[in-house]
């Protein structure tokens, strides 16, 4: 890389920095006194006590140096005095990349432990954004960002694969609950809920989609999943790219508005929730004017409203709850998941520390996509492993997909012998379907009629005798047909033109235009000629007249008096229904 190109990158970083400098960011840049109180808050410091480069203020200082060099009064005149400095070479930028992406998960634990209120995690994210803007980022971040820009979701799941997965999960659910109505609706307009997920669910763990669908179904929810704009995650949060953040969030909001859904429900994902619910409107420059909530709140609401019932006794193993950094420290969600977990588990123990003081799963901040830092990540995970081991839990519950991956990885690495689940899994497993809204609704809703021999068929009965018409109508309607009547030939032709019936029963001897003439006209008129006709007559002598005409013969012929079963059987034969199974 030439010096000119490096200079260009530095210039580009300076320009972007200028756009990122809000009052609160500048406050964090000038507020640090290097007291070191944030040190012990960081899992990287705790597991690398001999490496001073792990300390949060050192990481934030990388941006602070750049800021002071360009903006601080003292830094501009005596840069060495206050540590003001700009990166000069590509090697410098690589060092910055390693610090910003490889030694911090932006978990915000240091922020909450800073006496000055310096938001170190935000500063590190800005540094990531500056580096990303000039193409200096881990390969994994580049690939995932590209997929989210170009394909619309961060794992590059194609639309057909996504829809196929939904279809597959629908089949599974229909089979499980034995209800054909339990399918996952896609792009249904005007629903109460639109459900957005993490692409990891579609690609690697579709059971969580089926679990959520089961809960929506059990609650009798009017819901849908979008065919586009379904990815609630946002790599802009990790890469520091606000433009990507805004674009990804806007896709979700626009689809929701297009489908006129009343509420956007975000599946259990820490960074996805933070990006869509908290940061998204700011990145996208949109004032939030619609409801958004985590599925944690949705499930808890169903439970409180009695729309779903759960059996706590189904889960007797010891469980603990891992607070996602983004949910607890950036969105204030700490109590609702616990309330839900206590409803579905008999042995729940807290890990220490917990809630906003919990330690990161170590897979946050996009760390799972940066394989070059995996050894360091797993070393730093010792803190988390010790926390989990101390609980004695067999199941670690978390409401974040990144955490599921991060925790699963460290559980395997440290041989903890437990598994990771999400609340949606536990709630779906604990459902007492018989007492859920879907079943209560089924009890009051009229049972669907059993299928009838002539269900859905439209039949025109032509006869000049009213009592015969009534008889035919009664028999055919009892067999499920929709029946219309005509008292003479002209009425018959008019009705046939208007109704286009599936079949006409035709009396031959009628006042005015008789059946023979009517039949001839039916057969010769475009649009009517193909309508099957069943002659119903008390004059067998006319049979020859009918069959001798130069038009196609009638499809059926019956002599009066007619037996009910014969009539239905003949009509079914003419309509080609004989082989159809009846679902009665």
């Amino acid at each position: 890389m030439s010096a000119n190109e490096t200079t260009y990158k530095i210039q580009a970083m300076r320009e972007l920095l200028a756009k990122k400098l809000t009052r609160s960011v500048v406050g964090s840049l000038v507020g640090c006194v290097h007291c070191g109180m944030c040190n012990d808050a960081c899992h990287y410091v705790k597991t690398h006590p001999d490496d001073p480069k792990m300390t949060p203020s050192f990481k934030a200082d990388q941006l602070r140096k750049l800021f002071k060099y360009n903006y601080d009064w003292t830094g501009k005149v005596f840069p060495w005095w206050v540590g003001a400095k700009e990166p000069l070479t590509d090697a410098d930028l690589d060092v910055l990349k390693d610090i910003a992406f490889g030694t911090c998960t932006n978990c915000r634990r240091c922020t909450l432990n800073c006496p000055m209120g310096v938001d170190t995690a935000v500063l590190n994210r800005i540094m990531r954004g500056l580096l990303t803007s000039v193409g200096v980022m881990p390969e994994g971040v580049r690939v995932v960002s590209k997929d989210q820009w170009e394909i619309g979701n961060q794992m590059g799941v194609l639309k057909e694969d996504y829809l196929e997965t939904l279809d597959w999960m629908s089949d599974e659910l229909v089979n499980e609950v034995n209800d054909p109505n339990a399918r996952i609706p896609v792009d249904e307009p005007d629903c109460d809920v639109i459900y957005a997920i993490n692409p990891r669910e579609a690609k690697y763990d579709p059971r969580t989609i089926a679990a959520a669908a089961k809960i929506f179904w059990a609650a009798g929810e009017s819901w849908t999943m979008p065919s586009e704009g379904w990815d609630q995650t946002n790599f802009g949060l990790f890469s520091g790219d606000d433009q990507l953040g805004g674009a990804a969030a806007r896709r979700v909001y626009e689809k929701m508005k297009e489908l006129k859904a009343k509420r956007l429900v975000i599946s259990e994902c820490g960074h996805g929730y933070r990006s869509t619910r908290c940061e998204g409107p700011n990145w996208a420059g949109i004032d939030q004017d619609f409801q958004m909530e985590s599925s944690i709140f949705t499930m808890l609401r169903y439970l409180k409203e009695g729309r779903i019932k759960v059996d706590q006794a189904k889960l007797r193993e010891r469980v603990t709850y891992h607070d996602s950094c983004n949910l607890a420290r950036s969105c204030g969600i700490t109590e609702e998941p616990r309330e839900l977990l206590r409803a579905v588990a008999t042995d729940f123990v807290e890990m220490t520390p917990n809630r906003a003081e919990n330690f990161c799963c170590t897979g946050g901040g996009g760390a799972m996509s940066m394989s070059e830092y995996t050894p360091r990540r797993l070393e730093s995970a010792k803190v988390k492993a010790d926390q989990i081991a101390a609980t004695g839990a067999k199941i670690v519950v978390t409401s974040c997909h990144n955490c599921v991956d991060g925790l699963s990885d460290l559980i395997k690495h440290y041989k903890l012998g437990c598994e990771v689940k999400q609340l949606v899994d536990l709630v779906a497993d604990a459902l007492v379907i018989e007492e859920c809204a879907v079943m209560k609704k089924a009890k009051v809703v009229e049972m669907p009629k059993p299928a009838l021999p002539l269900d859905g068929r439209r039949i025109l009965v032509v006869d000049d005798e009213a009592d015969i018409r009534t008889f035919l109508r009664t028999v055919l309607e009892d067999a499920g047909a929709e029946v219309y009547e005509a008292g003479d030939g002209n009425q018959a032709l008019a009705q046939a033109r208007a109704l286009k019936p599936n079949l006409i029963t035709l009396d031959l001897s009628m006042e005015g235009k008789d059946g023979i003439e009517t039949f001839a006209e039916l057969r010769s008129e475009n649009g009517l000629a193909s309508i099957p006709v069943c002659v119903v007559t008390g004059h067998p002598e006319f049979r020859e007249v009918i069959y001798s005409r130069a038009v196609p013969p009638p499809e059926g012929y019956m002599d009066k008096p007619i037996k009910e079963e014969q009539l239905v059987e003949n009509v079914r034969r003419i309509l080609g229904l004989q082989d159809h199974k009846l679902h009665a």
């Binding site: 009064w73 003292t74 206050v82």
Partner: protein
Amino acid sequence: MTAHEPSGLLHSVEIIHWAALGVMAVVYTLRIRWLLAFRGTRDRQAPGSPARTDARKGAMYSLANVMMPWSMESTRRGFPFYVTFVLFHLGVVAGIALAFLSTLSRPFLQAPAVAAATLALLGAAFLIGLYRIARRLLRRVMRLISTPDDYFSVTLLTCWFLLGVFAELNVLGRIGGDGVMVAYLLLTSFFLLYVPFSKISHYLYYPFTRIWLGRTLGHRGVFPLQRG
């Protein structure tokens, strides 16, 4: 007790000292204007937990954080360090008060309780200053994040505390002459002029950083923190 009859030199230094205060006020005003000249932001998302908290409550909680050592793990677990933090900053208050009251109301500073408190605070702050210098020099982590300004500022303050002890003794008549007070006021003047350009100006930013962070986290339902 002695009446305050400053020599010509001391009188001149007192004037310099007050002038330095005026300069500092102007520079501080410019500093705040500089900070507020950056773009303000607002949260476009709906409140996170409106039934429990909001931006105002979050800001108040955040601002009061310094008086709630139990609210942060770092101050809860590092309580001795928190105590040194409190004493160090009370020492600054005592030192500033000493400097200005020495020119305005010596009798007040000569009151036994006030004198004892001033000496105790300045003495404790001096010892803590020495500890802080040592901590910054000896710990690798602290060395890495320290700038010349960090070393200079803490050294300046530590010297100033020590000189403050001597100045208070001078006020009490235990040390004669104007030399000590001249030195103390000159150092205070330098301190006042230097502060806006150094890390010591952090106390000026403190309310802003805490309120801005608290406002954001309060709006999102994080502050006040919930505990089990």
